[in-house]
């Protein structure tokens, strides 16, 4: 009965309001209008994130395709005509696809990519294997001091990696370990600089805590019954871990593996020091390769950009593949408890 009276009063209200006020009122009262607003906001937010994440890649592409002389000269035509106005937007000055070939001609860039890939793969395998054991222990077993040990492991991950650098470098050079002040030689470690060992060991140690933390959470959520069933059926505890608990924690394992892999693939700080020269046969990593386009007097920005794009590609493929695994793991892993 109120409906008969309402439209006239509302319209008289509307007449007194400004357009913004009318619109806000409409959004608050009309669900269809509200949905439209939400959708619009979604696209705005989405667009914002896409632009901020993808623009650097576009900028790399612009730099790679622009000949280096033009990059150095500056003075670009950075505006494009858009809806009648000149909008500032960088576009490639020329189409120098040859840069992507030159990347490999000037420097054996593929070797640097290979180095980083091997370092990252081996580190990931070691980290996942060790973190699985630790995650099983922390996530599924009850023992005194568990919380304290977990805290200690996490505390290690908060240490700045630079703090380990000097003692490790000293040790990896093959110098004898000497008791401070007394001068007693304990043992002489093997000379590991310029070998993958000098990089994989510190990487594994540095990225283990995070992986342990992730896997502890995931392994702790697998029902005890499944592990018990596997053990009664004929596995050891270790067998149950690898045959039942790990496959069911696939999303967690994939997350830990991808994070570790990306972190090591991008790593430069440790490896630049452990590889004494920036040479691919001394296990210098990807970033070292990119930097080698810079000489004392010249910097090939276009080649550095092209090399960056080439270096990102394997990572891109890996993440896409792992993403599929993560999603399938999430949907398949519905546990009956």
């Amino acid at each position: 009965m109120a409906t008969a009276n309402e439209p006239p009063t509302q319209s008289s209200d509307d007449e007194n309001k400004g357009p913004l006020e009318r619109w806000t009122h409409g959004v608050l009262t009309d669900p269809a209008k509200r949905d439209r607003l939400y959708r619009a906001l979604f696209y705005v937010a989405c667009g914002f994130f896409l632009v901020t994440t993808l623009f650097p890649f576009y900028w790399l592409l612009v730099l790679a395709l622009t000949p280096n002389t033009q990059i150095l000269a500056g003075d670009w035509e950075v505006t494009v005509p858009l809806v009648g106005a000149e909008v500032p937007f960088p576009t490639p000055q020329g189409f120098n696809v040859y840069a992507f070939v030159e990347v490999f001609q000037q420097v054996p860039f593929h070797l640097y990519v290979f180095n980083s890939f091997v370092l990252a793969s081996v580190t990931t395998v070691i980290v996942i294997a060790l973190a699985s054991l630790a995650g099983y222990v922390f996530g599924r077993l009850e023992f005194p001091g568990r919380g304290l040990m977990m805290l200690a492991v996490l505390a290690v991950s908060y240490f700045p990696p630079a703090a380990f650098l000097i003692p490790l470098f000293d040790a990896f050079l093959g110098n004898a370990i000497v008791v401070p002040f007394l001068g007693i030689e304990l043992f002489a470690p093997p000379r590991l600089v310029n070998t993958p060992g000098s990089m994989i060991m510190p990487f594994s140690a540095l990225f283990l805590p995070l992986a342990i933390f992730i896997l502890t959470t995931f392994y702790g959520q697998i029902p005890d019954g499944l592990e018990d069933a596997a053990r009664v059926e004929g596995t050891t505890r270790l067998g149950a871990l690898f045959r039942v608990i790990m496959p069911l924690s696939a999303p967690g394992v994939a997350t830990a593996a991808v994070l570790t892999f990306i972190a090591v693939y991008n790593e430069y700080f440790f490896s630049s020091i452990m590889a004494l020269q920036n040479e691919p046969n001394q296990w210098s990593p990807l970033v070292g390769g990119i930097l080698s386009y810079q000489t004392q007097y010249t910097t090939d920005f276009n080649l550095m950009a092209a090399a960056s794009i080439v270096g990102v590609l394997p990572m891109l493929i890996l993440v896409v593949v792992a993403q599929e695994k993560i999603v399938s793991g999430l949907t398949d892993g519905a546990l009956k408890e």
Binding site: P223, D228, A229, R231, V232, E233, T235, A334, K336
Partner: protein
């Protein structure tokens, strides 16, 4: 097929004793139920047999082998779990063949055994399904198939039917019994449901607070419970208990007396004794003729009726004042209440004065302090003279009972 022996098995967690000095001998091919209330240690007992937990003390023998320190996989046991515990990342075939594949059987042998197991539990044609695509009962059957496919010496079942709905549970109960007949394997079955234990097992082991109370065939547990706990736990609804004091002529309680020859008991007069009687052993005085030995008449007021179809449960209040409505459990332990089951045709009303008698041959006496059973049935210790008196009174009550109808 194998005997299973538990010798002084004790399991302690920090300060809690989950299993206390358990001694059980399970015969080859026997179906035995471990039954008790939640948290009584029955599942822990099962886990020590399976090898999932190590007992603090004691030894466990399967067949001729001392398995106390063996890992679960080397014990020759298989287990069905309460939460079913199918591996969600494997299909039915992979689930069932898991144990065989780990033991590196031939592909043909595995196929043959899986097919046979699937046939036994009626899962033909479902081997390529995922566990999530199956109903609860089917999942449970896959779990059973996984257990039987290895042809274990001993089958452990930890409340396998607890997560199924009531109708399916009764159906699976029958299937498990058929399975036992077919396989003739030792089965150890844990349940908190005394009805399951009664219907399925060769023997019941009643456990309370980690201690074995009684291990006997179901009907022995029912008719001759070893102590008050077993008497109260086995049977539904629960047995009525009335606390009283032993005198020279029998038992005196707050509301009625029982006369019997106390010489047969090894107790002094004045000792506290609890009388127990099952609901079906209480009769309205009017129908007491058929009893060979009925007790003195007890006057009571009916409180609440629970018609079950095949019988009616009547809550009797022995006091004049109306007591608040009680649940079955409360009623059985309150000494001013009795629960009686009567014929469904009985015309009995709420808040009605009735006279009831107890079947003296079915009265159990327990020592109140220890809970140990003293005698089952007190008709034998009655003297002839007292029997006469009871007869006369019983006749008198039949008349009055007739009036009330």
């Amino acid at each position: 097929m194998a005997r299973v022996t538990l010798d002084n098995v004790t399991k302690r967690y920090d300060d809690v004793v989950a299993v206390d000095d358990m001694n059980v001998e399970i015969e080859d091919g026997e179906f035995i139920c471990l039954v008790g209330p939640s948290g009584c240690g029955k599942s822990t007992t099962m886990e020590t047999i399976a090898g999932l937990t190590k007992p603090t003390e004691g030894t466990i023998t399967v067949g001729e082998t001392d398995v106390t320190n063996l890992p679960p996989k080397d014990r020759g046991v298989s287990m069905v779990f309460q939460n079913i515990a199918l591996f969600p990342h494997m299909d039915v075939y992979e689930n069932v063949s898991f144990g065989l594949r780990l033991r590196k059987y031939d592909k043909d042998e595995i196929d043959r055994r899986v097919e046979q197991a699937a046939e036994i539990v009626q899962l033909e044609g479902m081997l390529d399904r995922e566990p999530t695509e199956l109903s609860g009962g089917q999942q449970q059957r896959v779990a059973i198939a996984r257990a039987i496919v290895r042809e274990p010496a001993v089958f452990l079942m930890d409340e396998p039917l607890a997560n199924l709905d009531a109708k399916l549970r009764v159906h699976m109960r029958t299937e498990l019994q058929r399975l036992h007949k077919q396989l003739d394997t030792t089965i150890i079955y844990v349940t908190h449901d005394q009805a399951e234990a009664m219907t399925m097992s060769d023997r019941i082991a009643v456990i309370n607070a980690g201690e074995l109370q009684q291990i006997a065939p179901p009907l022995t547990c029912y008719n001759e419970p070893a102590n008050r706990f077993v008497a109260g736990f086995i049977g539904s609804p629960s047995m009525n208990f009335v606390e009283g004091e032993l005198t020279e002529t029998g038992l005196v309680t707050d509301h009625f007396d029982l006369e019997f020859d106390v010489d047969g008991l090894d107790l002094e007069t004045g000792s506290e004794v609890t009388m127990g009687v099952r609901p079906e052993d209480i009769y309205p005085a009017a129908t007491a003729e058929s009893l060979s030995s009925s007790s003195a008449v007890i006057d009571a007021t009916t409180d609440v009726l629970e018609p079950m179809g095949d019988e009616i449960f009547v809550y009797l209040s022995l006091e004049d004042s109306q007591t608040a409505t009680m649940t079955t459990e409360e009623a059985s332990s309150a000494s001013n209440q009795l629960l009686m089951s009567v014929d469904p045709d009985s015309t009995i009303e709420e808040d009605e004065r009735v006279s009831v008698v107890l079947d003296r041959s079915k009265i159990h006496l327990f020592e109140t302090r220890s809970g140990d059973a003293l005698v089952h049935g007190i008709e034998d210790v009655t003297t002839a003279a007292r029997g006469e008196a009871t007869d006369r009174r019983a006749h008198a009550e039949i008349d009055s009972g007739g009036r009330s109808e």
